[in-house]
């Protein structure tokens, strides 16, 4: 895993990938970070869509970011608005939705918009890691 600094990803070959987790619940960010760091990923956090946009636009994050995991129900810029922004401005960064509320219509709509996975909390660590791994493959294909 490459060196992690608060707010910035640092380039390096040793990391399995760089993931941004966007969720208003600190507990969720903590537990997702724990799971993904153990699997060799670098993780940055944002508490809402507005912060997420700030984080992505900081330093070289926009170049280094591999996957975004995003909640839906959040204050300020919510998940739907944030996802629309990410898809428009960073179409090559795969998006995974991790939400507390299963909504079939919303899932269909988001998957049509290019979201790679729609996960409903609580999601097991193995499933989350598999989803991130699939998203990483998609990210690599996008680079080709």
């Amino acid at each position: 895993m490459s060196e992690f600094k608060s707010g910035f990803f640092v380039g390096g070959e040793s990391s399995n990938g760089r993931v941004l987790i966007v969720d208003d619940e600190p507990d969720i960010r903590k537990v997702v970070r724990m799971t993904l760091q153990k699997a060799g990923y670098d993780v940055l956090e944002a508490e809402n869509g507005e912060k997420a946009i700030e984080v992505i636009n900081s330093g070289e994050n926009r170049l280094l970011l591999d996957v975004i995991i995003c909640d839906i129900r959040m204050p300020k810029v919510n998940g739907i608005e944030a996802i629309a922004y990410f898809r428009q401005n960073y179409p090559r960064v795969p998006l995974i939705v991790l939400t507390g509320f299963p909504d079939t219509d919303m899932a269909t709509s988001l998957l049509r918009q290019g979201v790679v996975d729609y996960l409903v909390k609580p999601v097991e660590g193995d499933k989350l890691k598999a989803s991130v791994a699939r998203a990483m493959e998609q990210r690599e294909l996008a680079h080709l």
Binding site: R73, D103, E124
Partner: protein, 370 residues
């Protein structure tokens, strides 16, 4: 723009009159007998704008109907002869079931006054009881329908702690640091407690309103409780909440029903703001009244709709999103508490619902015939 709904008066519009409200003289009614039947009838008639209850009598000074009459400022009479000679009296309702009373009334009534007694009175009592039971059912049904809209909020609040519990438990299977194990186990316990609190709040709210006697309710605490419940129905994250509470404000009523009123008003207010704006909750105890104000900075209510919002089945929400019974039930609960509900609204600037209740010191004053 203001619309008012109060017991003894149909919806009235102040400031701007939309259309003339037809007025006809009220039916002036006297009630003889303050037992259970008389009390139920008193409560029912008191809420009908076209009926004026001019007085009540019972030989038992501790009859429940007389206590109720005091609370709602209906004059209590000591002599039947005084009651039935009130000028302009249209109708005497005898609920004593006593044939002797019936014959006295038949003899002494003025020709222009009608009498309802005997089997007709029994029938009327049965209808009032039935109507009261329907109101209770309607309130509960509307509350349960509203709880359907809590699904997203409940799922959010349940699944977040569950995600934490699952993630920590998975981590614990491999964790070797004893301090970390203790810390994470404690986090799991806290998360379980949070989940349990959600279930407790909701099961308590969804139960049928208790049939207990009206009691004094601490209004500020009830508003806070309502906020906790309303956040399952509407997202409050982007709403600024201002609490302008005067300490120790109390009103008399059914606590379960008042909670339902507050949840509905807060939910409506947040929906009107489309999840962005300021919600102000204000309580105030004045010399002769207690006031609760729920204000939003939302879309407001169009003047042509303002006079209809308390009507049953009236809704501006899309099909499936509202029963149209929320404000109708609120009005009924407030009237039962001898209060009034008034709306001030400006399109594009927001709405304020003003609930006014008789203050506890003034509600119990005995009014005697002049």
């Amino acid at each position: 723009m203001v619309a008012t709904s109060s017991p003894g008066a149909h919806l009235r519009h102040r400031s701007e009159r939309i259309e003339p409200v037809p007025t006809s003289p009220p039916i002036r009614v006297a009630i003889v007998g303050g037992g259970r039947g008389g009390t139920a009838l008193l409560d029912a008639l008191h809420q009908i704008g076209t009926i004026e209850i001019v007085g009540i009598i019972d030989k038992d000074p501790s009859a429940p109907g007389l206590r109720r009459a005091q609370e709602i400022n209906v004059t209590i009479y000591d002599r039947v002869a005084d009651l039935i000679k009130i000028p302009g009296l249209n109708l005497v309702m005898d609920l004593t079931g006593d044939p002797a009373m019936k014959s006295v009334l038949q003899e002494q009534l003025m020709p222009e006054t009608d009498l309802v007694s005997g089997q007709t009175s029994r029938l009327l009592r049965a209808l009032v009881r039935h109507e009261s039971a329907l109101q209770t059912e309607l309130l509960h049904a509307e509350k349960l329908a509203g709880i359907g809209s809590f699904a997203a909020g409940i799922a959010h609040d349940m699944n977040n702690p569950l995600q934490l519990i699952l993630g920590l438990a998975e981590n614990l299977t491999e964790e070797t640091d004893l301090d970390a194990v203790h810390l994470q186990a404690r986090d799991i316990i806290d998360a379980v407690k949070r989940t349990t609190a959600i279930c407790r709040d909701l099961t308590s709210y969804s139960r049928r309103a208790s049939l207990q006697q009206d009691c004094l309710i601490a209004v500020n605490g009830k508003l806070d409780e309502a906020l906790k419940i309303a956040r399952y129905a509407v997202a409050l994250q982007d709403i600024e909440i201002r609490k302008l509470y005067q300490p120790d404000v109390v009103v008399k009523g059914n606590p379960d029903e008042l909670l339902h009123v507050f949840v509905n008003l807060i939910t409506n207010a947040v929906q009107a703001m489309e999840h962005h704006g300021t919600l102000t909750l204000e309580t105030k105890a004045m010399a002769d009244a207690t006031q609760v104000r729920v204000s939003d900075t939302g879309s407001g209510i169009a003047p042509e709709l303002l006079g209809r919002i308390f009507e049953p089945f009236f809704t501006t929400k899309p099909p499936g999103k509202g029963t149209g019974l929320g404000l109708y039930n609120i009005k009924n609960v407030i009237h039962h508490m001898n209060g009034t509900i008034e709306v001030e609204s400006h399109v594009g600037r927001g709405s304020t619902f003003v609930l006014t209740f008789p203050s506890e010191s003034s509600a119990g004053e005995r009014k005697t015939p002049s």
